[in-house]
């Protein structure tokens, strides 16, 4: 590739440069203020590289953000390196920008997707998987590549949340597999309730499962009155709303399991267990063994607790809660 370190600088009118992200741009969701402050204080330290373009007069190859910052600071012109259209191939220009960015900052997920999309016309799938995905810190597999490429298709709000790290990739993947209306509605719930990554997937999975089980739409599930009431309850803060919404969906999704858990808890609390004693059921009641925990500080305390336990009348009532119900 051509060595551009000695490329001459020209004073370029900023109006000649497009302020739309062009084919080499790999920036999304950035804060211009720190850059503006730096330029304001120390001037333009690193010169953008622009190329003559047929549609616009010039297109930023490297330094798109600096161009935007300069425009925002009302500069009229700035010194830049200018390439004529035929000096480098589009793929070289793309790589130039990619390596320049790689050396100076991390990419967010949306930007990684933009890069993969821009590499696609110039490089084979094999090359992208083997060379460029590791460069972006991504595992070299097809499904990851496809997922990242799709991120650019998301609407702005979703892309923004993704770039900001508010949504997990698992969540994004699940949302991408839905119709646009369901996706938008679910995203709004996730955003409103400020669900963490784990909660996001629970919310989505349970909603999807209820919709599948009852052959109803996702939108209908999310319009159920009790769920809407939780979201609109002024007396609840966001973590409380999140917890209650998830609990509501879980109860809907697993009616027998939640009923069994409640029956078990009721049985245990009615026993009047001594202090520092706990009886719990195995996860999902799958293992047949229940667990007894006793906290004690010395043998005397243990002896007293065991005696109290032995005096309880209803221990025999502990068992699989569905047996109790039937």
């Amino acid at each position: 590739m051509k060595d551009l370190s000695g490329a001459p600088e020209t004073l370029v009118e900023l109006t000649e440069i497009s302020d739309q992200p062009g084919p080499y741009c790999m920036s999304f969701r950035f804060d211009l203020d720190p850059l503006k402050r730096s330029i304001d204080k120390f001037g333009l330290i690193h010169r953008p590289l622009v190329i003559e373009n047929g549609n616009y007069k010039k297109e930023a190859v490297i330094g798109f953000r600096r161009v935007l910052a300069l425009k925002s600071l009302k500069w009229d012109r700035a010194p830049m390196k200018v390439l004529s259209g035929d000096e480098l191939s589009p793929s070289d220009l793309l790589l130039l920008n990619l390596y320049d960015n790689l050396s100076s900052r991390p990419f967010n997920d949306v930007e990684k997707g933009m890069i993969l999309n821009r590499l696609k016309p110039h490089f084979s799938g094999e090359e992208i998987l083997k060379e460029y995905m590791p460069l972006l810190g991504l595992p070299s597999n097809e499904s990851t590549r496809i997922l990242y490429e799709k991120l650019e298709e998301l609407d702005m709000a979703l892309r923004t949340s993704c770039a900001d790290g508010d949504l997990s990739l698992k969540t994004i993947k699940a949302l991408l597999e839905m119709d646009p209306d369901s996706r938008a509605t679910l995203f709004q719930w996730i955003k409103d309730l400020k669900l963490n990554f784990n909660q996001q997937m629970l919310f989505i999975e349970n909603t999807l499962d209820i919709s599948n089980t009852e052959a109803t739409s996702i939108l209908q599930v999310l319009q159920e009155k009790p769920l809407l009431n939780i979201r609109e309850d002024q007396n609840l803060n966001n973590p409380q709303k999140a917890k209650r919404s998830l609990s509501y969906l879980r109860r809907r999704r697993f009616p027998l399991l939640t009923r069994s858990e409640e029956t078990f808890e009721k049985t245990i609390s009615s026993l009047g267990l001594p202090e520092r004693v706990r009886i719990s059921h195995p996860p999902f009641f799958e293992n047949p063994d229940y667990r007894l925990e006793i906290l004690f500080r010395d043998g005397k305390m243990l002896e007293e607790t065991v005696k109290k336990l032995a005096q309880l009348n209803d221990l025999e009532g502990i068992g699989d809660p569905w047996d109790e119900e039937s």
Binding site: D209, T213, F254, P255, L256, F284, E286, P288
Partner: protein, 363 residues
Amino acid sequence: MTNPPLKRVLVEEGADRFPSVSRILKRIEGIPVERVSDRKKEKMSGPLNMDKTSLRLISFPGEFLKPCPGTKGYICCGYQILNVGTNCPFDCSYCILQAYFNQPSLRIFVNLEEKLHQIAEVLDRHPDRIFRIGTGEFTDSLALDPIAGWSHVLIPFISERNNAILELKTKTNQVEGLFSFPQRNRIVISWSLNSPSIASREEHGAPGIRKRLEAAKMCQQEGYNIGFHFDPLVHIPGWEEEYKRTFEMMDKLIDPNGIVWLSMGGLRYMPALKAIVRKRHPKSRILVGEFVPGLDGKMRYFKPIRIQMYGFMAEMLRKWHEDLGLYLCMESHDVWEKSLGWSPKNSEGLSHFLDRRAVKFFG
């Protein structure tokens, strides 16, 4: 016989030297054949495309006979899996193979005959043990048999041994090919059964329940002993009535005295299968139900649901015939106790139970 709609045959490097390849190619004359050297290039492009219109002929480098790995925390029957090929022409929505294999196509291992001596060595090393061997774990035992000719190799081989049983597990109804063999001894032809609606909605391409049972009847008339596997049992609204329809058909068509064993297993799946089912079978109802993580990490119905299903099935089946060799596949001691009223307690106990069934039928 079932003819999968094949569009091409891929003969992998190293497979050509086995005589079964020319026999197989003769059976499917007219279908374009390609010689392929590099398996990697043919990897599945994603779980959506299982490429069931391609048949691959492969020299399998691994061991053909392996014990079923069982699963942590549950009672296993001690089965031996004879791995003769992978994938099958049917496209059941719940098929675990959708998540198991990262390689597409229907696959036949063409070096089975050449490996028989290794299997014989294993059997001969343990003359006092009974090997219950099945080919239906990673493929349908009979769906590709008209092409692969597995039964031609295996039925005579197993029939003359005293310590092995061969189970051919299938969903097909075209069993006439089996009647050309003189041997019947130590062979169990078994069918995967379900409710008629699950069969028609979820077992794409497979014959319906009546056809399977008619095939079982034909096999009984031809002197074969048979088995049935209600696996996976699917818990959807109205499931009791649905399964009753299958029992009614069994009652009309099958002589229960000729049933070596009958297993039941609730639907279970690796978590990764869920997304694949949603994509490949968006209309499927199999994900309906309260699935929880099992002790082995697979998703399975919440325990009381399983107990209820097995209990109901067992009651109905026992009303029909008391001695069916009824057993549960991959279930825990307490589920056995609560649903069937007894338990083999552990995998060894279940193995003994099924070995006794084998001895009862075949000596």
